[in-house]
Amino acid sequence: MKDDLNKFLPLSPAALHILLALAGEDMHGYGIMQEVARQSEGAYKLGPGTLYDNLQRLMDQGMVTEISSDDPRRRIYRLSSLGRKVLTTEISRLEGVVREARLHLRRV
C-alpha cells in the first residue's frame, strides 16, 4: 500500500497546498486560493490557471473529488481518502527532511 502511495510523491508545492487546504473542509476554487494564501501568510499565491490545472490532475489521480453544489457555477472539491493518505505520507516524508536538515545545520 505504501508503495502505491509513494508513486504520487513528492508532491509539487501547488498540489501540497491544495491538499492541505482541502484537509480542513470542502471548498470551491476561490476558497482554495484564499486558504493557500492564508496558510503561507501570503508567500505563496495560486493563480486560477495553476489551481485548476492541479485540481484536474489530482481529480484524475483520485485524490480530490467534486461534489454537488447548489450553485452550478461554483463547484465544491473534497479531499478523498486516497488524497488524505497521500498527504499524510507526504507530511511524514517532509518531517524526515526537516529532521535531517536540522541535524546537518546544527553541525555547521
Binding site: 470551491h28 476561490y30 493563480g47 486560477p48 490557471g49 485548476y52 490545472d53 484536474q56 461554483r74 463547484r75
Partner: protein
C-alpha cells in the same frame, strides 16, 4: 483585459475549458491582480498544450491462444483542425525564416549566393565585399581545406588589398593589368587622385601641417608599390599615374615572372626603420633629427653612429647608412 483573458481561456483544450473556464473567469472578475492572473493564464495555457495533452496509448493485448493482437491507430490520426493548424504553423515559420534571411541584419555567412541580384536566385545576397565586376567572371573552387590567410602587409596597405582581388597574396598578371580599375575604387572622395590616407596611411589629423606633409611623403616613398605608382614622388598618385599603374607595377617584378609576390613588394628594412625613427623624433618635420629632438637613450647608438661627421644633426640617409653598417644588419 477581460476580453483578452477570455481569449486565453478559449485557447485552452476544450475539455479543460468546459470544466473550469467559468470558474476561472469568475475568479478573474473578483480578483484585483489582473496582470498576475494574465501571466498565470499564459502558464496554464502552455502547460495544458504541452504537458497535459492526452497521449495515444498503444497497448496491444494478447489473445487467449497467445498470439499478440496488433493495435490499429487508424482512429487516432490527427483531426482536420489539427492538420490545418500544422499547415498554418509551418507557413508562419517559413515566412518568418524568409524574413530573417532577407533582412539586412541577417548573418551573411549563412547564405550561399552571388554579389549580384539575379532572377535565378531566390534570395538576393548583400555583402560589403568588393565586387569583382572589373575582372572576367571566374569561379575558383579551392580543392584544399587550407586557405592561406591574407598577408598582414596586404591588409595594411590598402593599395595592395585592392590590387590583389582574389586575396591570394600575389598580384597576378591579370591583376596588374586590372590595376587602374582597382585603384579607382580607393578614390573615396572622387577627386581623381589617391592621397596617402587613401592608400592606407593612418595619420593623426592634429599633427602640425609641416610634420603631416613629411609623414605623407615618407609613407609614399618607403613602400615600393606606392613609390612605383607615385612616379613623380609628389606624395599623391595622380590620375595619369593611375592610368599608367600597370606599367609602373611591372617595374617591381624583379624576377620577371609576370607577377608580384610579397618579397618583391616589402619595403627595404633599413629604409623602413630609418623612416620610423625619423617619424618619431623629427618633431618639426624638417627632415633632420637635432640634439634637442633626441629622446634620451632611444636609438642613441644608431643616432651617434649616424652623425659620423659631427654636424649636430642626422638625416634619414645618415640613418640608413648607419643601420646597414650596424653589426646586427650584417649577414
Amino acid at each position: 483585459m477581460r476580453w483578452f483573458y477570455i481569449l486565453l481561456l478559449r485557447m485552452h483544450p476544450r475539455s479543460f475549458r468546459q470544466r473550469f473556464g467559468d470558474e476561472m473567469l469568475g475568479i478573474f472578475d473578483q480578483s484585483g491582480e489582473k496582470v498576475s492572473l494574465m501571466a498565470d493564464g499564459f502558464l496554464s495555457l502552455a502547460r495544458q498544450r504541452t504537458l497535459r495533452q492526452p497521449s495515444f496509448a498503444f497497448s496491444p493485448t494478447t489473445a487467449p491462444d497467445g498470439v499478440p493482437l496488433f493495435y490499429s491507430a487508424e482512429a487516432e490520426i490527427p483531426s482536420a483542425r489539427a492538420l490545418m493548424r500544422g499547415v498554418l504553423v509551418a507557413f508562419l515559420a517559413f515566412v518568418l525564416f524568409s524574413a530573417v534571411m532577407s533582412h539586412r541584419w541577417r548573418q551573411t555567412y549563412l547564405i550561399v549566393g552571388s554579389h549580384h541580384p539575379s532572377p535565378s536566385h531566390l534570395l538576393g545576397a548583400h555583402t560589403d565585399a568588393q565586387p569583382v565586376a572589373d575582372l572576367p567572371a571566374e569561379v575558383k573552387v579551392n580543392p584544399y581545406p587550407f586557405h592561406p590567410p591574407i598577408s598582414p602587409y596586404f591588409r595594411f596597405l590598402l593599395v595592395l588589398g585592392a590590387l590583389d582581388v582574389d586575396q591570394d597574396n600575389v598580384i597576378s598578371a591579370e591583376e596588374i593589368e586590372n590595376a587602374p580599375a582597382a585603384l579607382w575604387k580607393l578614390d573615396k572622395n572622387h577627386d581623381g587622385q589617391l592621397t596617402a590616407e587613401e592608400c592606407g596611411l593612418k595619420s593623426d589629423p592634429n599633427l602640425d601641417p609641416l610634420k603631416l606633409g613629411s609623414v605623407r611623403l615618407t609613407f609614399m616613398r618607403v613602400h615600393p608599390v606606392l613609390a612605383a605608382l607615385d612616379a613623380n614622388h609628389d606624395g599623391v598618385i595622380s590620375e595619369s599615374e593611375i592610368r599608367n599603374a600597370a606599367a609602373a607595377l611591372r617595374t617591381l617584378d624583379a624576377n620577371h615572372d609576370g607577377k608580384l609576390v610579397e618579397r618583391e613588394l616589402l619595403p627595404d628594412q633599413a629604409i623602413a626603420m630609418a623612416a620610423g625613427i625619423m617619424g618619431m623624433l623629427d618633431k618639426n618635420g624638417d627632415g633632420r633629427i637635432t640634439k634637442d629632438e633626441r629622446r634620451g637613450p632611444f636609438a642613441a647608438d644608431i643616432l651617434d653612429r649616424a652623425d659620423r661627421d659631427g654636424k649636430g644633426y642626422v638625416t634619414e640617409e645618415d640613418l640608413v647608412i648607419a643601420i646597414r653598417s650596424s653589426p646586427a644588419a650584417r649577414p
